[in-house]
Structure formats: C-alpha cells, structure tokens
Symmetry: C2
Subunit: 245 residues, 2 copies
C-alpha cells in the first residue's frame, strides 16, 4: 500500500465544489474518485485539503489517496490527466509517507480573491474575478485588511451558524495588490471557516466603498454575528493558491 | 450623423459567432445591435470587420455604426459595457470619418491559433486553446508555414465549396512561437476565407504529426480540393487579434 499526494488545479465554474455530498454529482472529488478507482480497480477515497465552495477555483489544491499500483508517479499523473475534463488538471503526483493526510496535516493555506474594478471586462479572465464597478478607496481597504489579520474568533465571518467546533483562526497575512483595474486580495492563514474568505473579501470591499469603517471591524468580531460583517462575495473571484504542510 | 469605430473583445465560447444569420440568436453582432439601437432609440446596424466562426474569440475585433447621439465617445463605451455580458467588452470607441467601413476598409488581419501540446491542461486558459497530445515536430510545422505563406488560391483551404468570388488571398506571415507546452501560430494576411485559418492550422499540425509533408502543400494548392488539405481545427483555439486599416 502506498500513499500519493496530488497537486490539482481547476476552473471551478461548472462544479459543485470539491467535496461530494450525499448524491451530489459533479464535484471535483467525485470525478477524481471515479478515475482513480478505475485505475486501481478498487473503490478509493481521495481526500482533499478542504472543501472549496461551488464555483471556486484552485491552482494548488492538494489531495491524497492510498492504493496499490505498479504505475510510476509520472504514469499515474498521465493516466488521471487523460480522463480528466479540460477544466481540471493534475499538476503533480508524488509518493509520500503513509501518515500524510492532506487535510489534517495542512499548516497554512493561501487563497486569492480577484476584484476587477472596471466596467470593461477582461473577457479572457472574467471567470476568475468578481467585477465591481463601485469606486473603491484602496487605503480604506488596506486598513480593513490590517484589522482582519491575526488570531480572532471569526464566527461573524462564517456562513454556517450551526458550526459546533472552535471558530478561532489565525490569518497570518492579507496582502492587497493593485495592478490597473485588478485588485488582488491574498489571504494566508492556518485555516478558513465556511465562506470566511469571501466574507472577509466582502468586508474589505464594503470598507473600500465606505459602507463599513475599518474601526468597526473590532466590534464585528466581538458581536460574533454574521449580519454585522460585509457581504459574501461571489465564488467566481476565489482561487485556492496553495496548501503548505 | 456620426460614424463610430469600436474595438471589441470576446470569449466566443458561448456564441454563434459574430454575424447574425436569419433568426439565429446569440451572435455578438445581434447583442451589439440590441444595445446600440436602445442607446440611440433607433434600429441601428453594427458592421463587423468580418464574421468570426461560432466559438471563435476576439481580442481586437473592429466594428462600426452610424447614428446621432449627444453622448461622448467615453460615455458610449460606458453605456455599451454596462449592458454587455461579462464575456464581451468594448475596449474603445472612436468617432471616425463617415466613409470608414470596418469590413471594406480592412487591409490586414491577424489571427492567433493556440495549440496546447500537453496532457496537463492549463485550466485557466483552456477555453482559448486546442489541446493536442500528439508528438509534434516543430521544424516540420515551420516548413509547412513557409509553404503556406504568400499569395495563393486558397480554395483547398476553404470550407465553403459554393464560394463564388475569388479565393486568392495573400498571407503575409505565419509565425510559430513555442513556449513550454504552448505553440502559438500567428497568421497575418489581407483576408481569410471561411475556416481558412483553422484549416491552415490543421495542415500545420498534420505536418507536425508527419501525416502531411510540407513538400505536398504546393500540390494541395494546385488541386483546389478541400479534402487534400489538413483537418479543420476546433474554433476554441482561434482568436482574432487585430484588424489594420
């Protein structure tokens, strides 16, 4: 028995996210399990580093599966890519220690949220950005990012109200890069709650629009109330960039 | 009455090409005519530099329309972009001489055909390329491009067998740029027949695969027979880059 780590990228537009849920079809996990189970001749679970929302993309999702095969790493990669649709790809396959677990061992994740602040679409990349034509004050957005950073109880920034476990997370950095009409928000943290990146991005945008003040973010954390934070931005702007172990 | 020149880009994946045909919906031209007719309060024709096939993209399609309006060029651009879907954009609006005609005055056009020569998809750009996993001999492709260049009767490279007018065209250059798994074929000419770029690209790929020899291209021209040329590559790899006047 061997354990294989995969690095995966996908355009999530047409998928119901990473994780299969009951009989929900059309998930990235479901597609991988079908191909890998066929390859190994045995029902095989493919574990991801975490679920990504429906419509969210990944350039560096990590997954792992265990199985017996005489194929080399390169042959496994070739086999899987041959059966994947063109909007999903395996970038690498590597044999790892049997104890490696893509979700439990994840130490840091980086997500990117791309805002396109112009009425003129970038038609070749519009599937991977959120178009927002409001006038945005980038300095207020930077102040908001500064307030959101650090270890906090992110309950107000989570869409799942029935979440039972700890909602404390540590966001190590939120970088804001502006390049012409593109504003890229890069979030690195030890983990993110359901919709947390999209709600943080929405709160930052709302600060840029003057609808929320950066000084109020401290109170939003304390309130632990979802309604006090900013909007949940659409999934299309979000990409899981990488997972560190 | 004024005449306006538009530079337009689109992801053509979901459209039936530029030109409205009878009651075919979902064409780029149809979408522009709806918006501009509403803007001017009057049925208005929007003329394109040429039809692009269903599924073909453009980063620099040119069109023009005539009408009366008190809006500035910038306001026209803003108005149209507000009503366009995110996969179509107007990059510029410019008032031009009344005699300017986007199709009749076009002197040179440049098309790009992108081949992705790897089993590992580039998921973020796969809508704009043709994935081909055959082993390709780039030197043979360059030889084929050399043979295709110049002024020829391109009847064998045209899908429309009932085309009545001259099928002579001048292809000024065909550049082949290889960058990792990406092979970009850049065609510049004084005009292109129906499917001509996709058939030239198919002939070049067939030479790269060893299915056609560059030396045979001369005879293919002479035969004037579509069946002798290479395959018609899919529309997804093709982008109209610019039109010169």
């Amino acid at each position: 028995m061997k354990n294989y780590k995969l690095i995966i990228s996908y355009d999530g537009t047409n998928y119901n996210g990473w994780q299969k849920q009951g009989n929900t079809r059309n998930t990235i996990q479901g597609i991988f399990e079908n191909i890998i189970s066929k390859m190994l001749g045995k029902e095989t679970e493919v574990m991801g580093s975490g679920r990504t929302d429906a419509g969210t993309h990944a350039s560096g999702q990590v997954a792992n599966f265990k199985g017996e095969t005489s194929l080399t790493e390169e042959e496994i990669k070739e086999y899987i890519n041959t059966y994947l649709p063109n909007d999903i790809a395996v970038l690498s396959v590597e044999e790892v220690d049997m104890r490696f677990h893509s979700r439990l061992n994840a130490k840091r994740k980086t997500y990117e949220y791309v805002i396109w602040n112009s009425s003129v679409s970038d038609v070749f990349r519009q599937r991977f950005m959120f178009k927002c034509t409001s006038k945005l004050d980038i300095e207020n957005m930077r102040k908001a990012a500064e307030e959101l950073k650090g270890e906090h109880d992110f309950k107000a920034f989570c869409s799942n109200k029935r979440y039972k476990k700890s909602t404390v997370r540590n966001v190590y950095s939120i970088d804001i890069e502006q390049n012409g009409s593109e504003i890229k928000l890069v979030f690195t943290g030890n983990g993110f709650l359901y919709n947390m990146v999209r709600i943080m991005a929405g709160t930052i945008i709302n600060c840029g629009e003057g609808k929320i003040k950066a000084e109020d973010i401290c109170g939003i954390f304390e309130s632990k109330t979802r309604e006090n934070a900013g909007v949940t931005l659409p999934a299309c702007g979000l990409t899981l960039k990488n997972v560190e172990y």
